[in-house]
């Protein structure tokens, strides 16, 4: 299916934003000095971020068509093409990945002392794979990026992680692999069911038979649910988060988890509308369980990183809830909340990393009185904590509000239950803040802690900017996705109408 090319800048900008980090990684192979490695990595990621800005600025909000499309032959005998493009949903995550890219480098500036070069190479390769996932419009290409991500992430957790890093790396690798291999089978089944093509756009126009829909949906769902992670596939997440170095946690929370929900939205929901409504209730039940169960688990944690990790499970439960209530409000809320969670939780992990560099502990009990020792840091921490618990005026409020509104439009019981999760969020996050920042200083390390330096402030300030920007004026962000989301819903309704007539 040939679609008109929308909005080309005359340069293959998506390829540039995707492969610039990889090129940077190739350059790093030949650099020996660790200091120089850091600066090159920073330069590459900042450049990548700068490249991503015109994509957002020139994005045409009035069409649901894929924009900045690049389409070339790749493996003709399998009908595989190099097909890149973004719509109102994916463009936000390309931007988010590029944004968090340089923040990860900043977060690793001092934290990574061993094998800096290898770390930065892994980070840059990771960046290419992540942006590629959001841009790919050919299933083969998508799967390539999706799986290729495992290699650098396995190394990032396993080489530079904490004490129990090897176990966590294995768990991450095997869990994710186990999910994605079923997706691989699903992709190949679709290839044959959809007329021998891996072209995602062409496949979206196909009507698949019911057994194909129901089974392939499950195959995709498993892959993405593990990545999100949805209850009960979440057990890898706390291990991976706790053991990963700060940059690894930021990538995990900021982007990798989004890939799961992005995948759910882009593939199973768009490809199998019938199966989506068929499975919506069970998935919503799992989401609500994740929201509440994740909240209670977070409540019980004594390790800060673990607490945030479990809070991620709860927050991602909101996202999947929003997506599967299947109305525009819910889905837009879900997408916005993906962006918000990426920014806020990414920022929280950055905060944890920053303070860990100074105190070398993540035990809540070892903290107290941080506000007296490092006031600037504590201010930022307060902003991100409040954002995470969705205080009005911050980004998450808009997201959660939309999701819960959408959920009420779908079913009042689930919506009501999800509010329990939101309340739990306030309890564990404020509790955490109290234990860390308030009270008297008991730990001598905290007294010696120095406040954030310029590079850390820069990273936190940018993230805080987005917290308030989305919180106070979310319209520009919602506008970007609006047409695409409406198109998705329209498509689902048409197809479901079609099935209603044949059944």
């Amino acid at each position: 299916m040939i679609e008109a090319v929308h909005n080309s800048l005359g340069i293959p900008i998506l390829s540039i934003v995707t492969f610039l980090p990889l090129a940077g990684a190739a350059v790093l192979l030949f650099v020996r000095n660790a200091g120089l490695v850091r600066w090159i990595a920073l330069a590459v990621t900042v450049a990548d971020f700068i490249v991503s800005i015109p994509i957002l600025l020139n994005f045409d909000r009035t069409t649901y068509h894929m924009q900045f499309v690049e389409h070339y032959q790749w493996i003709p005998s399998w009908n595989i093409t190099y097909f890149m493009g973004v719509d109102g949903i994916s463009v936000l995550f390309v931007f988010l990945s590029a944004l968090l890219g340089w923040i990860c480098v900043v977060a690793s500036w001092k934290a990574i002392e061993q094998r800096v070069k290898e770390f930065m190479i892994a980070l840059l390769v990771m960046q290419t794979a992540m942006i590629g996932v959001f841009c790919a419009l050919d299933f083969f290409l998508f799967y390539l990026f999706w799986e290729a991500m495992l290699i650098p992430m396995y190394l990032i957790i396993g080489v530079w992680g904490g004490k129990n890093r090897i176990y966590a790396a294995f768990k991450f690798f095997l869990y994710t692999l186990a999910g994605s291999i079923f997706m691989l089978i699903g992709i190949i089944v679709l290839y044959f069911a959809g007329g021998e093509t891996f072209d995602i756009i062409a496949l979206m126009h196909q009507k698949f038979s019911l057994p194909v829909q129901l089974w392939v949906f499950l195959a995709f769902f498993l892959a993405f649910a593990i990545k999100v992670p949805m209850f009960p596939f979440h057990t890898w997440l706390p291990d991976a988060h706790v053991e990963a170095p700060t940059a690894g946690s930021i990538i995990l929370a900021g982007i990798l988890l989004k890939m799961g929900t992005y995948g759910l939205l882009r593939f199973p929901m768009a490809l199998f509308p019938y199966a989506t409504s068929y499975y919506a209730i069970p998935i919503i039940v799992l989401s609500v369980i994740a929201i509440i169960y994740g909240g209670f688990l977070a409540l019980a944690q004594t390790d800060i990183k673990k607490l945030i990790a479990y809070s991620s499970i709860s927050h991602m439960g909101f996202v999947t809830l929003g997506l599967f209530v299947l109305n525009a409000t819910g889905i837009e809320g879900g997408i916005l909340q993906m962006l918000n969670h990426g920014i806020t939780t990414g920022a929280l992990f950055l905060c944890i990393g920053v303070i860990y560099e100074r105190t070398h502990t993540r035990e809540l009990a070892a903290y107290g009185g941080l506000a007296k020792a490092v006031p600037i840091y504590t201010t930022f921490l307060a902003i991100f904590v409040l954002s995470s618990l969705a205080i009005p005026g911050t980004n998450s409020f808009i997201g959660e509000l939309l999701i819960i509104t959408g959920a009420f439009g779908f079913n009042k019981v689930f919506a009501g239950l999800s509010i329990i999760g939101a309340m739990l969020g306030a309890v564990y996050l404020l509790g955490m803040y109290k234990k860390i920042a308030l009270g008297e200083i008991t730990n001598p390390h905290i007294r010696e802690a120095w406040d954030v330096d310029g590079r850390e402030i820069a990273a936190m300030a940018v993230l805080a900017l987005f917290v308030f920007w989305i919180g106070l004026n979310s319209a520009p962000f919602l506008d970007i996705m609006h047409v695409s989301v409406n198109h998705l819903i329209e498509q689902m309704n048409t197809v479901n109408g079609y099935y209603a007539t044949i059944n």
Partner: protein
């Protein structure tokens, strides 16, 4: 049978390899002990000449020549290129290694060339007997090469086991061939195809013959339950020979298997396809699961190679043009990645240090980044993680399977491949995530580096741009 000089031209590559081998044996007599590497370089030269010859005839399809026992077609050309590649790489890996083992003798390379010619005959054979002759030529050479380190008990034991079990399995194969001949009155593959069509698939005698053929060939590719020799032989043989036999002879056996089963026995596929499917499931399962507990890397790779044979057998189950092309591509890819990983193992062997325990690789990346990175690439490729060639190979097998409607089989295969990922990434873990416990002293040599470079280039190139290789395989299938 008329003697046609053109036919002699067509089989020139085989003649070059065989006569080259004979000349090198004579040359070996006049060379000093410290000049033996000349034989190695000359064998590389012989391989290149033969490869050029095969390449020249690549467009030809000779039909069945030499009493309808032999053919030069795209299919055999593709496989011969795989054999040249694997022999070439194996010779490169051997040059320094057999010096370290102290068994630097000219016959070593000569035997490899003999094995190469055997494999070439197998790929070109269109008669069960010519295939059998090729197989024996190949197998006998490798029996000797397995026991080449005479002073080493393990090497002797491996050779002994291999020769006894190999002879037994050859007997089983031959018995199967004799049954086929008894039932159909022919061993020529295209005649056989016509004959079995008339015979019908329910003929019990034919099924019995097929079972014998499966057992005989199954032994050669180490399919479970005929795999018991593989771990011992892989472990005991000189590492360069382990590398060689894990790719070349395996590819040759698959070349013959595809031609016999999908070509000649294709019309009665219902009588063997379930058997092969069951065989491939247990082969993948045993290979993947037993490999998990290995501590010796050569043994582990033996089980890994068993598991990979299981995937390749799936291509046979899938059948059709895609099934054939998938196995062909898989064998090419497997040659690159397996040669690569064995090439890095050979690097470890220096002085009295064997470097065969998986633990010996602990912390390698701290000391030698380049070698560690190469191992990472080969191991992830063996595990089938993109963007490496190993993924493309598996992907094509799964595609062929699903096209033929074997979705459950594909699901079993991906589960096994996820299990097998564990033992590959465990080695990556040891290399990258642990501190070194000893000094590393790698036996680097230009020849070894060249082999590793070729293997790595192939592994990455096919992973990213498979189109050319894929089209080669697809255009080279025999009409099955």
């Amino acid at each position: 049978m008329t003697f046609d000089i053109y036919n002699m031209v067509l089989i020139m590559p085989e003649i070059i390899v065989l006569s080259g081998a004979c000349l090198l044996i004579l040359l070996d007599l006049v060379l000093d002990q410290n000049q033996k590497h000349i034989i190695a370089y000359l064998s590389l030269f012989v391989i290149l000449i033969a490869a050029a010859g095969t390449w020249m005839f690549a467009g030809n399809n000779s039909g069945e020549i030499l009493g309808r026992m032999f053919t030069i077609d795209g299919y055999s050309t593709f496989f011969k290129m795989v054999f040249y590649l694997s022999t070439f790489l194996a010779v490169l890996l051997s040059i320094n290694y057999i010096k370290v083992e102290g068994v630097e003798r000219g016959e070593y390379y000569v035997l490899m060339l003999f094995a190469l010619s055997g494999m070439m005959i197998m790929a070109s054979g269109t008669d069960l007997l010519s295939i059998y002759v090729g197989l024996e030529l190949m197998a006998l050479s490798i029996y000797v090469l397995t026991g080449f380190i005479q002073y080493n008990g393990r090497s002797n034991e491996a050779a002994m086991k291999y020769v006894i079990l190999g002879a037994f399995s050859s007997g089983v194969l031959l018995y199967g061939i004799s049954l086929v001949y008894g039932i159909t009155g022919t061993t020529q593959l295209s005649d056989l195809s016509t004959a079995v069509k008339n015979q019908g698939s329910m003929d019990m005698a034919l099924v019995l013959a097929i079972i014998f053929l499966v057992a005989g060939f199954g032994f050669k590719v180490a399919a479970v339950p005929f795999h018991m020799w593989a771990p011992d032989v892989y472990e005991g043989a000189p590492t360069s020979i382990t590398a060689f036999m894990s790719v070349g002879p395996k590819a040759a056996s698959f070349a013959a298997i595809l031609r016999v089963f999908l070509g000649a026995l294709g019309p009665v596929s219902v009588s063997w396809v379930n058997l092969i499917a069951a065989l491939s499931i247990v082969t993948m399962a045993v290979g993947s699961i037993v490999a998990l507990s290995q501590t010796n890397i050569k043994r582990m790779l033996a089980y890994s190679s068993i598991a990979h044979a299981g995937y390749a057998l799936l291509g046979l189950v899938a059948g059709g043009p895609d099934g054939i092309a998938a196995v062909m591509l898989y064998m090419l890819i497997y040659t690159f990645m397996n040669m690569g990983i064995f090439g890095t193992i050979i690097l470890m062997r220096k002085g009295n240090f064997r470097g065969e325990n998986i633990e010996d690789y602990t912390g390698l990346s701290k000391v030698n980044k380049g070698t560690a990175l190469l191992m990472l690439i080969f191991l992830f490729s063996l595990a089938g993680i993109p963007p490496t060639a190993g993924f493309v190979g598996k992907f094509y097998i799964f595609m062929a399977l699903i096209r033929s409607g074997y979705v459950p089989l594909a699901v079993i295969a991906v589960i096994m491949s996820a299990i097998s990922a564990y033992f590959y990434i465990r080695i990556v873990m040891l290399i990258y995530m642990k501190e070194p416990t000893r000094e590393f002293d790698l036996a680097r040599s230009p020849a070894n580096s060249l082999a590793l470079a070729i293997a790595a280039a192939g592994t990455i190139l096919i992973g990213i741009l498979p189109a050319w290789f894929l089209d080669m395989a697809k255009s080279a299938i025999f009409p099955g």
